[in-house]
């Protein structure tokens, strides 16, 4: 009987290069019980992360002015002093990923030479988007193209021509060029560069976990650099900073997201726009996220991501046809062309005169994507076992980039068309240019199309569900890191982190401090950029030792 086959196990995993380390996963963990609830946490990452988060929340609540002055200064100071560094590093990540696709290492399989993928394409893509970007597409899909198209404040991408005179008259001759540049400049922020940032982190974690046998935790990517020291304080610091950035990144977005959803509800249904409604929204989002993490990765997170993708796709199709499929599709092709033509000048940090765009938007975005990369990268790694490096990068880099360019062309293109058709009465122009109300831009665009009441409701639902999918995947990531890379820690811990995130968001929303702490999270983008560059090197070191197909 001892030789009974085990159909539950994937086929033999084939050759892989397990790193020989003395460290045993979970060796630093404390297991125990508080009352009836079990716990299994990493010592000291869990406790330090929790305490540091509480300390920063307390600081923002006790000295709100000081916190907001300091971080309000720090974030722009970093993105404008180090703009060149952010831009160059992001270029490095894109080139590195493209190189891996064509290099012989592209055939290395994550999980060993004979591993099979854990998830099919549909569920996998849905989870990639829902964790990393979905909410941004909802918020910026209209705002950014519309803003670049018409901004009169001198921060037009590459200083391109303006389509409106100062008193709002259309300048026909400039329209085409302004429109083309608006789509190219938006796509630049949502296509190859952000996904390359995520892909680098995700690839490193997947490689060092599935092929090298190290725990699924950020510190594992540093093994080639730090050696056995990653299990000591170096590793504790890396993991704690990752937890910290993830938790505050999620909590502050949750706070802002509640404000945005509330503003949208106010705009459409006249529901009062106040803190009470926003707190209720946060509680509702956290509650649904809690149900999702309690249903698990397959039954909750994956299913919700799929539902979300279907809804987003329906909204995309609607806007596509309502705004005229022919023009928008040609816009998509034009957008792709514009992106291809402008991506090099846009990503060159030297000799630029459009500092408003380069520092205020591009460097800000890069810092932001990078500060989110531990979370999104780790989640992508968790669901990507069994793919080859080539397949992994193609699917994490190229396909999402195309989808994002399509999304921006449809939503942004439709908004720009509205601004051109009705320069005086366009709701998009009123909410993006005349008065800057970014949270209303999506709803203003939907208003210009038929069935606005239905599509705006769908828009609000999507905003909320995308928050849920970020929140549940984030809680899973934080839970895994603070359990020392264990993915089977007691369920109580997930409940703790998910609830904690909601509570932090509520505290910051009521007490003020969302802006300050979000600025702080984005500031972590700078140290993480250095870390990511090191990770690229670690990936190469790791891949060299692997068997190629």
């Amino acid at each position: 009987m001892a030789d009974e086959t085990s159909p539950g196990i994937p086929a033999p995993e084939g050759e892989a290069d397990i790193i020989d380390t003395e460290y045993e996963i979970g060796q630093d963990n404390i297991e125990g019980k508080v009352g009836p609830f079990g716990f299994d946490i990493h010592n000291p990452v869990f406790v330090i992360s929790g305490l540091v988060v509480v300390a920063f929340v307390a600081y923002a609540l006790i000295a709100p002015q000081q916190a907001s002055d300091f971080f309000g200064w720090l974030r722009p100071a970093l993105t404008s002093s180090f703009d060149w560094f952010f831009l160059l590093s992001a270029n490095v990540f894109v080139i590195f990923c493209l190189f891996l696709i064509v290099s012989p290492w592209g055939s290395v399989r994550l999980g060993g030479a004979e591993a099979t993928p854990d998830y099919g394409y549909a569920g996998w893509f849905a989870m990639l988007f829902a964790a990393g970007m979905g909410i941004g597409l909802m918020f910026f899909g209209v705002l950014e193209p519309a803003y670049y198209f018409a901004t009169p404040w001198g921060d037009a991408p590459l200083g391109t021509v303006r389509p409106f005179t100062e008193d709002g008259q259309l300048i026909e001759a400039n329209v085409e060029e302004a429109r083309r540049m608006a789509l190219a400049a938006t796509s630049y922020h949502w296509a190859l560069h952000p996904w390359a940032i995520y892909a680098v982190v995700a690839l490193a974690l997947a490689l060092f976990s599935y092929n090298k046998g190290l725990p699924l935790s950020i510190r594992s990517a540093f093994y080639p650099i730090l050696g056995e020291r990653v299990w000591g304080w170096w590793g504790h610091i890396i993991d704690t900073v990752a937890v910290f950035a993830t938790l505050f990144g999620l909590a502050t977005s949750l706070g802002f997201g509640a404000q945005q959803a509330n503003a949208g509800m106010n705009y459409i249904y006249g529901i009062p726009n106040n803190v009470t409604v926003q707190v209720i929204l946060i509680i509702a989002i956290t509650a649904v996220a809690l149900v999702s993490v309690l249903r698990g990765l397959d039954g909750g997170v994956k299913r919700l991501s799929e539902i979300n993708m279907i809804l987003a796709f329906l909204l995309l199709l609607f806007v596509l046809f309502a705004a005229g499929a022919g023009t928008i599709l040609s816009e998509f092709v034009a957008g792709l062309g514009a992106y291809a033509r402008e991506v090099v000048p846009l990503s060159n940090p030297f000799g630029r005169e459009d500092l408003g765009y380069m520092q205020g938007w591009t460097a800000f975005y890069w810092a932001w994507w990078i500060s989110w990369s531990p979370f999104v990268g780790m989640f992508i790694a968790r669901v990507s076992r069994g793919r080859t490096v080539r397949e992994f990068i193609t699917c994490v880099l190229i396909i999402p980039s195309i989808v994002c360019i399509l999304w921006m062309a449809v939503f942004g293109g439709s908004a720009i068309s509205d601004m051109i058709a009705n320069p005086q009465t366009s709701a998009v122009k009123a909410n993006v240019i005349d008065t800057y109300s970014p949270e209303l831009s999506l709803f203003a665009m939907l208003e210009s199309l038929p069935l606005a009441a239905i599509t705006s409701t769908l828009g609000i639902i999507l905003v909320i569900v995308f928050f849920v999918t970020s929140s549940d995947s984030g809680s899973l990531v934080i839970d895994t890191i603070t359990a020392g890379g264990k993915v089977d820690a007691p369920v109580t811990q997930r409940v703790f982190w998910c609830t904690f995130e909601g509570l932090v968001a509520i505290a910051l929303l009521i007490g003020g401090g969302l802006t300050a702490l979000q600025a702080m999270v984005i500031s972590t983008g700078l140290p993480f950029t250095i870390i990511l560059l090191l990770i690229c090197w670690a990936i190469v070191r790791g891949l060299i030792a692997e068997k190629r197909a």
Binding site: G8, I9, Q27, G213, L214, L216, L297, V487, P490, V491
Partner: protein, 137 residues
């Protein structure tokens, strides 16, 4: 009366399973039914093993050791789950079918407050399994 006994084990906490393992072995001797040890792992490296394959080997070794210790016929059946924290119960139910067992002997803790929120694994399996389940406290 029983043809095959399935015993879920947590390889990280074998020390706490002594009573259950003894019970399964005694029943095995009595009914002359082999014991199949089942354990669930995630695809990620864990405390026990770096890969699901290594995990299966360790479980097999454990089964062999139990067989020699108790003088019974044993087997092993390793299962993988994307999210063992949540999916342990349905995975165990699937294992009952896959192994063709007609009796489950498993450890469980005495009921407490948390069972009102999340039933214990043993409680869930006993409630949903089609075959007989013996819970050892």
């Amino acid at each position: 009366m029983f043809k095959k006994i399935m015993t879920p084990v947590d390889l990280a906490h074998v020390g706490t399973l002594e009573k259950t393992l003894q019970c399964a072995a005694d029943l095995s001797t009595h009914f002359k039914a082999p014991v199949v040890y089942v354990a669930v792992t995630s695809p990620q490296p864990g405390k026990i093993a770096h890969t699901p394959q290594e995990f299966a080997q360790k479980l097999e070794a454990f089964a062999k050791e139990q067989g020699e210790k108790h003088g019974i016929e044993t087997g092993s059946h390793a299962m993988t789950s994307h999210d063992p924290t949540i999916d342990l119960d349905p995975t165990l139910l699937k294992a009952v079918e896959e192994t063709g067992s007609d009796l489950v002997v498993m450890a469980t803790h005495p009921p407490n407050f948390s069972d009102y929120i999340w039933p214990s694994n043993g409680g869930y399996v006993a409630e949903h399994s089609k075959v007989s389940v013996l819970l050892v406290r």
